[in-house]
């Protein structure tokens, strides 16, 4: 395994999280690159890119093909997967088992729907319908209408995104407009799909490790035994029917044979009944025929016994021995009976028929190793299967009828409690994924902006503008600490809600130009001629600043003003997304999170939104004009006859500055996009 230093975004991201500065490039990646090279040589570049897209994201991931298995892991052990691969909950499931199953199944449906849609969206538009049909064939989508899947999936994302962007909940904005907005922004971010797949994989792995409910295992095993035995029985019946057909007997079909096997107590009775029906005689005649058939054997056995008992003695000598006369009389009677019965013409015919019709059946397939042959072996196996079925049925009935014992009940409760954790995980898959995408994008954008800031300060230093550099350094520090502060040493992220709320409100009331100037003065370190810190809120910006200070302020604002506003609003909106629920998110496991103030500190009154619109509307227009992706979204919306409302523009701008407009986080390298000029 080779370690390679990667001077790109991952490194910056890793560093900003306080992580390692190297990315491990493993052998698997090297091997995969070789595989891609082979495809490039054989099929060309376009197919190579397609192959790259089709490959699963590295590491554990989830395919919606696994949805049904995942569903079957809920329901307190009362769920399973049927022969068609669909999950089901047993009819006799208890209400709490059913509730757990239904809740988790519904969440899995939702998450899989979004994942399927994002997978389709990743295809070029002309291939999307084709992809949808492919998913349909695999049974991964339940609807036959792509637009329905798309609408439902986008609605799911819109709902989750409202946590961060409350304007998406604005009833004045039509749902279809919200969908367009989401479709052309965050839904196209490949990170989102990867995150959802990864979280579903985690949920699946958790589900597979859920503790088993023992009782349900016994039931399952009994049901499996029954099913296997039923298959064996059917197979035996088919083989017997086939043998009879081969021997020219068409009067007994599979149904008749099955009925005989079911109604007769043992394999011997079943065989006799089959022979009787083949010969077409009544039960009594059959019995007589069998008796006749057995007589030679009985005579031979009696003579054998006599010989063993009396050895080489003559008949006369035997008669004189105790029991000798009775033994000889019994043999005589049997022989007499044989003679009498053989003389009966009807019985003689039955016997002949038996020899010509039944004996070939009985001897079919008989070998030294297989004494039973096809017929007797089949009947015997069928009776074993029948016995197994009966036992399994009794066991199943018993398991189902008994009230759960304490241990089983405890196991069931443990399982349901664990399934509750699964519910929480499934419920937060979308919101956690969105949170992580936004969080990571913010870090990436900020890292790049930071570099830009350093470059600007270096440029000013080269121009010997030390005063401007000093102000810029102060502003830079303020941007990194005043609203959301990340301490790399303690790995603590502090949300300063009151500071954020106050500054946003301040800009709303004072407007962009004056508001920025005053906020910059606050952090500038400027003093009056007596060395006292300036009262940034109340000074006269024209008369209370000296010429140098004015120049430094203007230059700093020119260089950092737009970044200052973008960062403030990005912190404002992403911090609003941190709620009690999202505090528990995995991403915050990367760093400790503290909160200064409350969420309420960042709540704006309606008229404050109006002021923001008045003061920042034109700037947002200008920023959006610079973004090709943003313009594409607007063109689409205009085709739908939708007016560019302020809230709509505001939302799009926010998504733009968070780097989730365009494919693959296009903000990362497109300088100036989204900035408020």
């Amino acid at each position: 395994m080779a370690e390679v230093t990667v001077p790109r975004v991952e490194k910056i991201t890793a560093l900003s999280y306080g992580g390692e500065s190297t990315v491990v490039v493993n052998e698997e990646m090297q091997e995969y690159a070789k595989e891609l090279r082979r495809i490039a040589q054989e099929k060309g570049g376009e197919e190579t890119f397609r192959a790259r897209l089709q490959r699963r994201e590295g590491g554990a991931t989830f395919s919606t093909r696994e949805s049904e298995i995942l569903k079957s892991r809920s329901g307190g052990g009362a769920a399973g997967v049927n022969e068609e691969g669909k999950a089901f909950i047993r009819q006799d499931a208890q209400p709490e088992q059913r509730a757990s199953y239904e809740e988790n199944a519904s969440l899995i449906e939702r998450n899989s729907r979004v994942l399927n849609y994002l997978e389709i969206l990743a295809e070029p538009s002309e291939r999307q319908q084709e992809k949808f049909e492919a998913l349909q064939k695999e049974g991964r989508v339940s609807t036959d209408d792509f637009s329905k899947l798309k609408e439902a999936a986008l609605d799911n994302i819109v709902t989750e995104l409202q946590t961060w962007f409350p304007m998406l909940g604005d009833p004045a904005m039509e749902q279809k407009n919200k969908r367009i907005l989401v479709e052309d922004t965050i839904a196209r971010d490949p990170k989102l799909r990867a995150k959802i797949a990864q979280k579903m994989a985690e949920a699946r792995d958790f589900a597979l490790k859920l503790p088993e409910v023992k009782g349900t295992d016994s039931l399952k095993q009994a049901e499996e035994r029954k099913k296997a035995a039923e298959q064996t029985l059917q197979q035996n019946i088919r083989e017997i029917a086939e043998l009879l057909r081969d021997k020219g007997i068409t009067t007994l079909n599979e149904a008749t044979i099955g009925a005989i096997l079911k109604s007769r107590a043992n394999s011997s009775d079943a065989q006799i009944e089959i022979f009787r029906q083949i010969l077409g005689i009544g039960p009594e005649e059959m019995q007589t025929t069998l008796t006749l058939l057995e007589l030679p054997t009985q005579i031979a056995q009696a003579e054998d016994t006599l010989q063993k008992r009396f050895g080489t003695m003559t008949t006369a000598q035997i008669r004189l021995r105790p029991g000798g006369k009775d033994a000889l009389d019994q043999i005589d009677q049997l022989k007499q009976r044989l003679v009498t019965m053989s003389g009966n013409p009807a019985l003689g015919q039955h016997l002949r028929n038996f020899n010509t019709v039944i004996v070939p059946i009985l001897t079919q397939g008989k070998t030294a190793e297989n004494q039973a042959g096809v017929f007797e072996g089949g009947i015997s196996s069928a009776y074993t299967a029948r016995t197994t079925i009966g036992r399994a049925e009794r066991e199943i009935a018993q398991i189902k009828s008994q009230s759960p014992d304490r241990e089983r009940l405890n196991q069931q409760l443990t399982r349901l409690a664990e399934e509750g954790k699964l519910t929480n995980a499934l419920e937060s898959v979308l919101s956690d994924s969105i949170a992580e995408v936004l969080d990571e994008r913010v870090v990436e954008i900020r890292s790049l902006e930071q570099k830009k800031q350093e470059q600007l300060m270096e440029d000013k230093a080269k121009e010997n503008k030390e005063g401007v550099v000093a102000v810029m350094r102060n502003i830079d520090r303020a941007m990194r600490t005043n609203w959301v502060n990340y301490d790399e040493i303690t790995r603590t992220k502090t949300i300063r809600a009151l500071n954020i709320g106050n500054d946003v409100r301040f800009l709303a009331y004072y407007g962009r130009d004056e508001g920025l100037k005053r906020l910059f003065v606050r952090h500038s370190g400027f003093t009056d001629e007596n060395g006292r810190t300036l009262d940034w809120k109340h000074i006269n910006l024209e008369t209370d600043l000296n010429a140098d200070q004015k120049e430094q302020l203007d230059e700093a604002i020119k260089a950092q003003g737009e970044t200052f506003i973008s960062k403030l609003f990005a912190d404002f909106f992403t911090s609003r997304g941190i709620t009690d629920r999202t505090l528990g998110l995995k991403i915050f496991g990367k760093y400790a999170l503290s909160y200064e103030g409350t969420l309420g500190d960042m709540t704006l009154k309606e008229h404050e939104w109006v002021l923001l619109e008045k003061n920042f509307g034109p700037s947002i227009d200008s920023a959006l004009e610079q973004s090709r992706e943003a313009k594409q979204v607007f063109t689409k919306l205009q085709k739908e006859g939708i007016a560019k409302t302020f809230k709509l523009k505001w939302l799009l701008w926010l998504l733009l500055i968070l780097g989730v407009v365009g494919i693959g986080g296009g903000m990362l390298a497109s300088k100036g996009t989204g900035s408020l000029g």
Binding site: V23, L36, G45, I663
Partner: protein, 105 residues
């Protein structure tokens, strides 16, 4: 608009660009300078955009955008620009030759 740049590109040209880009991606992956996620995101971008490119001008715009997002692809643009400059030089050279011929005659 430059008449050379506004000319439509052929499928063969496009295929060549796909091939060069794919090799750039593979090189990056082998050298460890291009992550799994970057290769995936860029593949998505290439497939979504390159198919819709019709003229040389659009092709250059696409490659510029691609190179800005993922620098490993910059070399493809540079290579193409070099070829284009040679082509333009050849055209201009021919024009000069033609004019000289006219003057001589």
């Amino acid at each position: 608009m430059d008449p050379v740049l506004s000319s439509p590109i052929t499928e063969e040209q496009k295929k060549k660009v796909y091939d060069d880009l794919a090799l750039a991606m593979i090189d990056g992956m082998e050298q460890g300078t291009f992550s799994d996620e970057e290769s995936r995101a860029s593949a998505e971008f290439v497939l979504a955009k390159l198919g819709t490119v019709k003229t040389e001008q659009e092709l250059f715009q696409f490659l510029e955008e691609l190179g800005k997002r993922w620098s490993i692809y910059e070399k493809v643009l540079l290579k193409l620009k070099g070829q284009k400059n040679n082509q333009i030089d050849q055209v201009k050279l021919q024009e000069v030759k033609n004019k000289l011929n006219q003057l001589i005659q």
